[in-house]
Symmetry: none
Subunit: 202 residues, 4 copies
DNA sequence: CAGTAATCGAGACGGTACGTCCCGTCTTTAT
DNA sequence: ATAAAGACGGGACGTACCGTCTCGATTACTG
């Protein structure tokens, strides 16, 4: 955060510092249970037990169960790679294949929509989630920006809207249509987004 | 539902009949609370109290809280109109404008993602929800079919996928991107879906 | 309470009535645990488990753990018999022997002082306890009243004070002096109370 | 405590010596809170906070909460004076008046019964408390011994039992009967103890 | 038209998770 | 080594909700 590294990060203040070990164990246990039993069968007491931690140690860090789950799943986000194949079609294909794979192999399919729903009602939560959702979109945005600089897309394109057009069809299918969608089937959706739905032949 | 509709399909049998009034009051109270406090802060006891009904009267009709919410929200669906302007662009614009308006003025913004999340975890629920989600897509599917018969779209197009490409961007923006999106801003998304994201100029 | 017995006790009010069975099971379980593990190792959850009852069923009846214990021990009081031998000395001996036996074979030795201490600080609790403590003294008071009517005691004697003089030495020994005191050793204390400490020969 | 009091009895060893100031502040804070909130709503953290001390500083001196409270309350005891009027009646009156005054103006009314109750459950605590309770009785025992040597009491009297007969009525009234009892009302109880309850006229 | 049976509002039931609080210990930096 | 500060594991507390059950009181059909 600082430019010159001179200062000692932050003053730790008096008292025993919070255990980084416990912090990690809690998040790991949360993700473990999330994938095992799902969101609402996950209990804070079970997380504490699995992490070898007291409940108070959890509540000292997160005000309730939901923010804990939010942070746990947010640690998964950096795994979204930023591809650089040199052309937009292949880049987008890779980004979407990654995304589909994560959704289908982690509890995100359960947690993401719940967060979206809660966020729609609770502005505080929404502002907590905003940067996380934004981070999730970042690789996609970068891919599109590079496409612009390569003149594959017009310079005045609305990149945010374009991102929605790319992600949307896949998101809709994963969460609402319920149709099967492996990573290998994202290609037609990329083409449709780029060139129009006429490309969607049977 | 039956072909000869002259009289009550089945003999009602002995005993006091179920109150149609109570039924409606329960659904209305459920929707009310859904929009007020959200899904999991909604309690069945509160629904009962608001509807002036005993809890057993609710559980006599729905096996648990979730199906109750599902039915309550499904009563909102028929308001999606099926437009028929004669060309695909205007039809799609109208369908999407309707959809955006409903999402932004009813508790569906909260309920829909939650149901999607729960459905991802509970296959029984998923199969309950499938026809409801399908009904929601129906106007869009019909619009696309008519476009095919008008030769505006190729005859071998994958209509289900096309529907996802149309709806997806709007859905993504409404539920996850969090950006503003009034009914008047759906037009660029329709064009992008039809002709590709090159159309998305600033 | 009413003179003519016509009315049906009390209106039960709507809704499922509280289970008398559960009530008794809770009190029995409380006494059981009180004697097994003592006051503060007794947990409400354990009481619930032992009684085969939900915790809420306990908290619906008693606001917290202490009042529950109060009521549980108060059910023990009626076992204090009211003797009637015809003379004050034997009557008092029997009352005190009963009292000592109860203290030494039930958790009252633990609970009574705690209640006294809490009552000294909390007026609400004190007024709850007052009738219970009074009931405990009742047999002793009656014995003294009968002694007055038999002219064994002067008619203008302060009976409440006399009761303290009778009970006090035994109470003090049981709770504070810590000396051994079986039921068979109460006799000298009765005589001392009646005739003065000169009677307390080794 | 030692006969030659010139310097610290033991070599203080290396390191910072324990703060005598902190010690006193802890005991004062304990007594303060005891009278304010009672025994089990008193928390060690609150004592530490009020004393301006870390919790570890408390646990370095006392193994747990109870011994801390025991020591705090035992500091109150030395104020019991040993009267010497020359006759037993006045001596006892003074001893009891002192006792009543202390109970009614300090948190002892709360602490004493609680300690008695805990002691009944925990033999270790009981043996810790025994010398304290004994010290409290010491002035009374001395008064009685002097009465024996003055031939006011028979030489073979059971002094321990006599002490219970003297203290008991007052204790019972203070802790369990709940009746008013100022220092000026102890006289009848002294007389009753000495000569029998016939003296207790209205 | 009396009897039967399912319904009603109300609210208690067993069970379980929540989030808070406290105990007694441990871990930091500072003196 | 002790100090203040405060986090730690553990565990009880009292609250809230779920889905079921039990009341007395309707409200229909059935015989």
């Amino acid at each position: 955060m600082t430019i010159s590294g001179k200062q000692p990060e932050v003053s730790p203040g008096p008292g025993r510092p919070r255990s980084e070990e416990a912090h990690k164990a809690i998040l790991a246990a949360t993700l473990d249970l999330l994938s095992t039993v799902g969101y609402d069968r996950l209990t804070v007491a079970a997380v504490a037990g699995l992490a070898g931690v007291g409940k108070a140690t959890i509540y000292r860090r997160w005000p309730s169960k939901l923010p804990l789950v939010v942070e746990a799943f947010s640690t998964q986000i950096p795994t979204l790679r930023l591809p650089d194949t040199g052309n937009i079609v292949d880049d987008l294909n890779e980004v979407l294949r990654d995304f589909v794979e994560i959704i289908e192999t982690t509890p995100l399919a359960v947690v993401l929509p719940i967060l979206a729903g809660e966020g729609a009602r609770d502005p505080v939560l929404a502002s907590t989630l905003a940067p996380l959702f934004k981070a999730r979109r970042q690789p996609l945005i970068r891919v599109l920006e590079r496409a612009v600089s390569r003149r594959e897309l017009p310079p005045d394109i609305d990149i945010e809207a374009a991102a929605d057009v790319i992600m949307g069809p896949v998101v809709n299918r994963l969460f609402f249509t319920g149709a099967d969608l492996g990573p290998e089937r994202v290609k037609p959706f990329v083409e449709a987004a780029l060139f129009g739905i006429n490309r969607l032949r049977a």
